[in-house]
């Protein structure tokens, strides 16, 4: 970037360093990722989470899972729309935060809500469709988290990308889980569903463009 000629004598702004940008973005993601869980922990021990603290913890963790999941899904569309290719470098971190939130969301349900009563948990996973959907989404995220390392990316080659399309299925299941949980109050589940659909649409649009024309 050139110094602004309109401001004589102004110190020339340092050229934006792309590596620095990514580092800043990653720092911000860490901060945003850790803040809710820190806040929840402190509030829990201060007994500041209202009359049903466990319900609140689970709900907030669930919402953050979806936020990170949708954010991870948004990386490629943002890249396509803005041409900012380097943003891809933060996708793994965002995706891993989504997985981490999904795990603590499930652990809070299993531990704080069900007190690790396995028979009740199994019954829930089997009989309550919203828990079935949520659990399936969590299970689908496990291979994605495991294969998120550089080594696995290299080893899987082309197959890596195909495998990681499962993220859309996991996110879809997460949204469905949210939809089926609420009683009449479908506003936020709808927002999540529309966001996911929008991101998917951007992806499809760009995919069509890349396809060779048939004669």
């Amino acid at each position: 970037m050139k110094p602004d000629p309109a401001v004589p004598g102004a110190r020339p702004r340092r050229a934006a360093n792309p590596r620095r940008q990514i580092l800043l973005l990653k720092t911000a993601i860490w901060a945003i990722g850790l803040a809710p869980i820190l806040w929840l922990s402190v509030s829990f021990f201060q007994r500041n989470l209202g009359i049903n603290p466990v319900e609140k913890i689970i709900h907030i963790q669930g919402r953050w899972t979806l936020v990170f999941l949708l954010a991870a899904m948004a990386v490629t569309p943002i890249r396509r729309l803005t041409g900012w290719n380097r943003i891809i470098q933060v996708r793994r971190l965002v995706g891993l935060f989504a997985f981490a939130y999904a795990c603590i969301h499930f652990l809070a349900y299993a531990g704080m809500d069900q007190l690790f009563a396995l028979s009740y948990i199994l019954e829930d996973v089997r009989d309550r469709r919203y828990i079935t959907a949520g659990f399936a989404g969590l299970v689908l995220m496990i291979p994605l988290a495991v294969t998120s390392t550089r080594g696995w990316i290299r080893r899987l080659g082309k197959r890596w990308q195909r495998l990681h399309r499962l993220a859309y299925v996991a996110a879809g299941l997460g949204v469905l889980h949210y939809f089926w949980k609420v009683k009449g109050d479908t506003f936020w589940p709808l927002v999540a569903a529309l966001t996911l659909a929008g991101l998917f649409a951007v992806r499809l649009a760009y995919r069509k463009k890349r396809l060779p024309r048939k004669k």
């Binding site: 209202g50 009359i51 049903n52 466990v54 019954e123 829930d124 009683k183 009449g184 109050d185």
Partner: protein, 324 residues
């Protein structure tokens, strides 16, 4: 001497959270233990000196609080509510319901009865003897509390309205006033005003209350001021809040949740551990208890919320899986 008959529906004293206002009660009960207590439908009790002193409503009668039903705290009961007109979050009603104007308040009585009309709240309440009753409260979302209501039998009101012989149901409506209940971000489209209803024999049952007080004080807005229904053996959503209309009908009246999601909520909505909600089990419930680390304690749900001895006969011969 009056002998206390313990009922199956009584809650053992070991199960419940006390409220500070009720701590004195223990001393009082200790002193009067030798005298014994009456049990009225499992909800009767000795006179409660300290309880009574807490700003009673005019016309408050002799409180009836069984020694073995210890209620949730006032804070628990008043900050964890479902009252979708004021928001769908559990804390929304306690934050926003102050906007509800409860004075003056008029209740329209209409339909198949001899004394229809618009009644001022006072005219509605004054002729009845106000009493305190501690009931279990079981939400369809599988949590529960124990709540010291103050009110009077719905039967009083019904008898004064003199329903015709053709009346078989009574329907209720909650106030619907978007001015007092502004939509914040978004509100579910569940067909306002909120509607509920009972079969007439359910409505006339002595356990069924019109409630205008809580913990011996005026009913807080978030709990359905100035006047709400309490049907302790049914899921909480049947116990309609802030009532402005009562209609006697021949046919089963449409009710909000049963209309909105007929597969999930029925007209009867009796608490029943054997009839699961399509999305979750009803076999157990979280008894809200802030003194616990996680704020609750699991307990088995009782058939008809533990009031089966009193009300099971109302449903004799009915398939409760079909009429859920």
């Amino acid at each position: 001497m009056i002998i206390r008959i313990s009922k199956k529906s009584d809650i053992p004293s070991s199960e419940i959270t006390p409220e500070s206002a009720y701590i004195n009660r223990r001393k009082f009960l200790g002193a009067s233990a030798g005298i014994g207590a009456a049990a009225f439908l499992g909800v009767g009790s000795p006179d409660m000196g300290p309880f009574h002193a807490a700003s009673p409503l005019p016309g408050a009668g002799r409180p009836r609080t069984p020694q073995d039903l210890e209620p949730n705290t006032f804070e628990e009961i008043t900050t964890y509510n479902n009252f979708y007109e004021f928001g769908t979050g559990k804390e929304d009603p306690s934050k926003h319901a102050h906007a509800l104007v409860t004075k003056p308040w008029t209740i329209k009585v209409d339909g198949l009865c001899n004394n229809p009309g618009d009644y001022a709240l006072e005219d509605f309440i004054t002729p009845s003897t106000i009493e305190d009753r501690v009931y279990r409260f079981r939400c369809v979302e599988a949590w529960s509390m124990v709540i010291p209501w103050r009110g009077f039998p719905l039967a009083d009101v019904i008898n004064r309205a003199e329903p015709n012989t053709s009346a078989r149901y009574v329907a209720f409506e909650t106030l619907w006033d978007p001015e007092q209940m502004p939509e914040r971000l978004w509100r579910p489209r569940i067909g306002w005003p909120y509607r509920e209803g009972l079969r007439l024999d359910e409505a006339l049952h002595p356990l069924t209350l019109m409630v205008n007080g809580l913990y011996g004080k005026e009913l807080p807005n978030q709990n359905g001021a100035p006047l709400r229904l309490i049907v302790p053996w049914k899921y909480g959503f049947k116990s309609i809040k802030s009532i402005v209309r009562m209609t006697f009908t021949e046919d089963e009246p449409p009710t909000t949740w049963a209309t909105q999601t007929p597969g999930e909520y029925g007209f009867y909505s009796n608490v029943n551990p054997d009839v699961r909600h399509p999305r979750w089990s009803q076999s157990r419930e979280k008894l809200i208890d802030s003194s616990k680390l996680f704020g609750y304690r699991w307990q088995e749900t009782q058939f008809l919320n533990g009031y089966a001895d009193e009300v099971a006969h109302l449903y004799e011969g009915m398939d409760l899986k079909k009429f859920f």
